[in-house]
């Protein structure tokens, strides 16, 4: 059975019987009012994702190890610093889209160690700005075939996502995003409280609470995937295409000659490189400082937690920006919850407990059913926050050195598109149309891409 079908079948079984039938999306009333805007907009400004999956001829199906564990070679065409999801995705698309396979991914820890497995796996494209929407929408479209593409089921599950609002102002802002999304061909709907209750029965829509639900925006194609599987699938595919994944290899310096990077110094020796891509997430500024330039990134802890395992009670992802909590239910059954990021700089991969306490308070008001659940595990990842809550992807003051960072609290969803456009940038030396606006010098020109409103977690 193809991976995508397996995922869909699993999705059907998640919807609790008590949820009852959900009305077809076409029947959910959505009136654009006096503006008279069309309900369906055909203009597509993002590229069409591929429909033909690459054949991974060298990838075994049940091997002892999913990827090779090679010694670093003295020289590569491209060295990617950072073996997180975006680094792996970049390496994969360098090989797949551009035929560049003499590539190393150097990772100071091990694959599946950092933010790749510390996120809450939410995938969506309902951003506000015209620069952001095509990028995230392209990513969402790539997700829909990612499992087939990688020949590895990543359990992508487009179960829908509600973004709750708790005031008239917030509701107006959410409707604005709905309109913006529809104008860019991205599915978005506005649900009144009763419709919220129908879509997600465990949400408390009582008006008699501190923050009553004023309605929600819905992206029905949003969803979740299994993050571990994405790591495994990407690493296996990249390795099979010839990419060297080098773990336990920390970059300690850059070899820069006449303003151009010529290689990296690592704890496993010097590695020459034609081009270098930095995909260091929370550790980006440690790299750029070594390379001799500044980027406006700061590193903060972002915490998440899971409960014990329950029957499926939550048929979709639910976010609440005002209450700073978002919840989904993993395929395995844990309730997965994220909160705001902590307020202080940190590289320690842990945060403060009072944030967890306030996120649980919010969750219990929204979902009274969760009051008997227990917090099983909490953790934090270190997120790379940019000033306008948008990523920085493109060239740097050092020739042949390229940067992909600043995804902050929302990088998981962008894994396929981030790799796609960064591979294009590394292969051609020029940004892809989708990442051209996300240049480093926008903080000088003032062409910021403000997405502070797009996320729950002080995004």
């Amino acid at each position: 059975m193809p991976a995508s079908q397996a995922g869909r079948r699993g999705f059907e079984s998640h919807r609790p019987l008590s949820a009852g039938p959900v009305a077809p999306l076409e029947r959910r009333g959505f009136c654009l009012g006096a503006a008279g805007l069309p309900l369906v907009v055909s203009r597509r400004i993002f590229p069409t994702p591929p429909t033909v999956a690459i054949r991974l001829e060298h990838a075994e199906h049940n091997p002892a190890f999913l990827w090779r564990n090679p010694e670093p070679k003295p020289s590569y065409d491209v060295v990617i610093v950072g073996g997180g999801l975006h680094g792996l995705s970049t390496a994969y698309y360098l090989a797949r889209n551009h035929g560049i396979t003499n590539v190393a991914v150097v990772e100071r820890g091990w694959l599946g160690n950092g933010n790749a497995v510390r996120n809450t796996t939410v995938i969506r494209s309902n951003y506000l700005r015209e620069e952001s929407m095509p990028l995230y929408e392209f990513s969402l479209q790539l997700w829909s075939t990612f499992g087939q593409e990688l020949d590895h089921d990543v359990l992508f599950d487009p179960r829908g996502m509600l973004t709750l609002t708790h005031s008239r102002g917030e509701a107006a802002a959410a409707r604005r995003t709905v309109y913006a999304n529809r104008l860019h061909g991205i599915d978005a709907e506005w649900l009144e409280p009763a419709e919220v209750k129908q879509y997600c029965p465990i949400v408390n829509i009582s008006p008699d609470v501190r923050y009553p639900v004023y309605g929600a925006s819905l992206q029905a194609r949003a969803g979740i995937a299994r993050h571990d599987a994405v790591v495994f699938g990407l690493a296996r595919a990249a390795s099979a295409l010839g990419v060297d994944l080098i773990q336990g290899c920390e970059v300690t310096g850059f070899n820069i000659v006449d303003g151009a990077v010529r290689g990296v110094q690592t704890t496993r020796g010097r590695i020459a490189a034609g081009r270098v891509g930095l995909v260091g997430a929370g550790r980006t500024t440690l790299l750029t400082t070594m390379a001799g330039f500044d980027v406006p990134i700061q590193s903060y802890p972002l915490q998440a937690l899971v409960s014990e395992i329950f029957d499926q009670v939550l048929p979709c992802v639910v976010m609440s920006g005002a209450l700073h909590v978002y919840v989904s239910q993993a395929h395995k059954g844990e309730l997965v919850m994220g909160a705001s990021r902590d307020n202080y700089l940190s590289y320690a991969q842990r945060g403060s407990f009072h944030l967890i306490e306030s996120q649980i308070q919010a969750a219990l008001e929204l979902y009274p059913i969760m009051k008997r659940a227990h917090v099983l595990r909490t953790w934090a990842g270190i997120v790379d926050m940019s000033p306008d809550a948008s990523p920085i992807i493109g060239t740097t003051p050092v020739r042949d050195l390229y940067l992909n960072c600043g995804w902050g609290t929302g990088g998981f969803k962008a894994t396929p598109a981030s790799g796609w456009v960064f591979a294009h940038t590394l292969a051609t030396g020029e940004p892809h149309a989708l990442n051209a606006p996300f240049r480093l010098d926008r903080f000088e020109t003032g062409a910021l891409i403000d997405e502070h409103g797009a996320g729950v977690s002080a995004h």
Binding site: L286, D294, Q298, N343, S346, H354, E444
Partner: protein
């Protein structure tokens, strides 16, 4: 949770404080690049860092805090005496 020793109130829990980030002076006359650096470029040190916190739920005073971003250890807390007192390097 951090515990910060307020110069006026003694050791108190983090929720009573608000984080003020790194202190830095504004240059009076600058190019776009320099203003971009002032507005957006913040130190992001791995190790000891000078910070400002305000004890908003207590004495409401601002203070300098020397904290380690790798360990969360707080090494020093001292009052802000003057508006241009940005503290000594950590």
């Amino acid at each position: 949770m951090l515990q910060i020793t307020c110069p006026w109130c003694g050791p108190r829990d983090e929720p009573e404080f608000h984080y003020g980030g790194e202190g830095m002076p504004l240059p009076p006359d600058s190019t776009d690049a320099e203003w971009a650096a002032v507005l957006y470029q913040r130190p992001n040190p791995a190790g000891r860092t000078n910070e400002r916190w305000v004890h908003w739920a207590g004495c409401r005073q601002w203070m300098h805090v020397v904290r380690d971003t790798l360990t969360h250890d707080i090494h020093e807390v001292r009052p802000v005496r003057q508006p241009d007192d940005f503290g000594s390097p950590a």
